[in-house]
């Protein structure tokens, strides 16, 4: 594009962004921004990197090995209570993606029906707390739930009937994959059953990073916002950029990613607010919920956990 000429001679600032997972539809806006030259225009040289998991990503950002990392609102809160100095700078996906799944054949009407059944979850106490809340909201006794830690194998554990329901799967990924396999699913959104309607995906920076590279991060967010706007307007073109990029490493399934993006776009939309903006209310409710479930080692202040740049 024409704008790339102007910035090509200017000094570019390096910015490393750690993804939450391998590149997929949720990252489309970054690839779109990259392709449209928005980052370069903003004087940035953005490097996207896939870590082993988001726990690693947060630590690497906190130690300055990377500038930004995709993380989860709950994870940022817990990190801060563990004295890991990171701050959420943008809410990327504004609603829970992590929902409770059961096979249609399990014939559940409410999370309460889980009592006496087995629930698979991926080694995270947070997931247990979510289901407990959902069951309690329906008047059930969470103490009667059977949890099975299924590690990495959420889907196989359910389809081979080792468990009756799973928590930890995302509506924009696991659900789509299962449907593609011909399995009918029931999903229960935690937000509808007493869990705060938290931000699923956020971008986190370290306190130190904000001090030193605050400007660059701000510019990055502005460019990303443009990327998101572009994606919303041209979802297919944007997605194609991602798919083409990934073809060289590992081909993504275009059908799945397209559906995923369809699911994601409304959940990423901040409405009247600018893309990524966060509210103290959301943070307060998330922190309260975590505190109630004893998932926080110590109290933290909501207004320190996030910053709208």
């Amino acid at each position: 594009t024409s704008s790339s000429k102007e910035s090509s001679n200017a000094e570019l600032t390096d910015l490393t962004v750690l993804l939450d997972w391998y590149p997929n539809a949720v990252h489309t806006f970054l690839y779109a921004a990259q392709a449209q030259g928005y980052f370069k225009e903003a004087g940035l040289n953005v490097k996207l990197q896939t870590p082993a998991d988001t726990n690693d990503a947060i630590k690497l950002v906190a130690t300055g090995k990377a500038d930004l990392a995709f993380s989860y609102q709950m994870q940022v809160a817990v990190s801060r209570s563990e004295d890991i100095p990171i701050v959420s700078v943008a809410a990327i996906v504004r609603h829970p993606l992590n929902q409770l799944f059961a096979l249609d054949s399990a014939e559940m009407n409410s999370p309460k029906d889980l009592i006496g059944k087995r629930i698979g979850y991926p080694s995270s106490p947070m997931d247990e707390a979510i289901v407990n809340t959902m069951v309690r909201a329906e008047g059930g006794d969470p103490a009667k739930l059977n949890y099975v830690d299924v590690g990495w194998d959420l889907i196989p554990s359910m389809t081979t009937k080792k468990v009756d329901a799973i928590i930890g799967g995302f509506v924009n990924h696991e659900k789509l994959l299962l449907e593609k396999e011909g399995e009918k699913l029931q999903t229960f959104d935690p937000a509808e059953y007493g869990v705060p309607d938290y931000y699923e995906l956020v971008l986190a920076a370290s306190e130190e990073g904000l001090r030193n590279k605050g400007d660059a991060i701000k510019k990055f967010l502005q460019a990303a916002t443009k990327g998101q706007e572009y994606t919303a307007q041209h979802p297919d073109e944007s997605l194609q950029v991602l798919l083409d990029k990934q073809d060289k490493e590992f081909p993504l399934d275009p059908e799945i990613e397209r559906k995923s993006l369809e699911v994601l776009l409304p959940l990423m939309d901040a409405g009247a607010e600018p893309f990524g903006s966060q509210t103290e209310a959301s943070w307060n409710s998330a922190i309260d919920w975590l505190t109630n479930h004893q998932l926080m080692k110590k109290e933290i202040k909501a207004n320190e956990a996030f910053r709208n740049l």
Binding site: N55, V78, S123, T160, K162
Partner: protein, 253 residues
């Protein structure tokens, strides 16, 4: 006894030194506690959670021992079989090598499908980790048994059983113990990995959960205990070896 202590003095000193370095470096270089927590913090965490840790220790130890036991029994049988039949050797050995080249985590759904989320999936992983060193080293022990002694026994009209009991087995014992020592060290890692594939209890699950909750001290207290468990298993086997192969000790002095 006192000799054992003086023999292990260097490594004890070294470990203490290491511990001091750990604490000092973590303090001096301000290494973030969530990357490497201070050793003191780890010990405090162990102290606070010792009841829970003891329970999880027991679970992991049980899985390790069970898996190790199965590997010892079946590994020895496989080694014996491989030694007694070249057909078996040419079939089993490549398969065992193959089993080691398969990145097991890729097969975790299969493990779970076959063995479920009970103790058996963990035991299966332990077996996968420990079978190989036992078979390889025991088979090696058999293979290097002094052929002249075997010939001599054959002239005495020795039955196959006695050839095994009185020639092959004593000759293979050193290799067998080397194998079990290696397997003992591996078994704990195997159990940990097994727990990561899904499990309710055990130190592996403890560290994974702690890691998901970003609690560095707890992760490291789990790791420390796992490592200690592995080393203790190793030392236990070494102790049995020392007693069993006492004739070798003399041979070296």
């Amino acid at each position: 006894m006192s000799r054992g202590i003086s023999a292990s003095a260097p490594v004890i000193l070294f470990v203490i030194l290491l511990a001091i370095c750990w604490e000092a470096l973590a303090t001096i270089f301000h290494i973030p506690h969530y990357i490497i927590p201070k050793l003191s913090g780890v010990f405090i965490s162990i102290g606070e959670n010792w009841e829970l840790l003891a329970k999880h220790c027991g679970v992991t130890l049980g899985e390790s021992l069970l898996g190790l036991g199965i590997s010892v029994v079946w590994g020895t049988i496989a080694a014996i079989w491989m030694d007694s039949s070249s057909l078996a050797k040419r079939t089993i050995y490549p398969l065992i090598v193959m089993s080691q080249t398969i990145p097991m985590i890729a097969l975790s759904p299969i493990m779970v499908m076959w063995f479920g989320y009970e103790i058996w999936s963990k035991v299966a992983v332990v077996v996968l980790f420990t079978f190989f060193p036992i078979v390889v080293n025991t088979a090696d022990g058999f293979r290097t048994a002094d052929l002249d002694i075997g010939e001599l026994m054959r002239t005495m009209g020795t039955r196959k059983r006695d050839l095994f009991l009185k020639w092959k087995i004593p000759a293979a014992l050193p290799g067998f113990f080397t194998g079990i020592k290696m397997a003992a060290a591996f078994s704990v890692v195997g159990a940990t990995l097994g727990e990561w594939l899904g499990g309710e209890a055990g130190l592996g699950m403890y560290t994974k959960r702690a890691s998901n909750m970003l609690r560095g001290e707890e992760v490291f207290s789990g790791v420390l205990l796992l490592s200690a468990m592995g080393i203790l298993l190793f030392l236990a086997v070494q102790g049995v070896e020392r007693v069993t192969l006492s004739y070798r000790k003399n041979a070296k002095s």
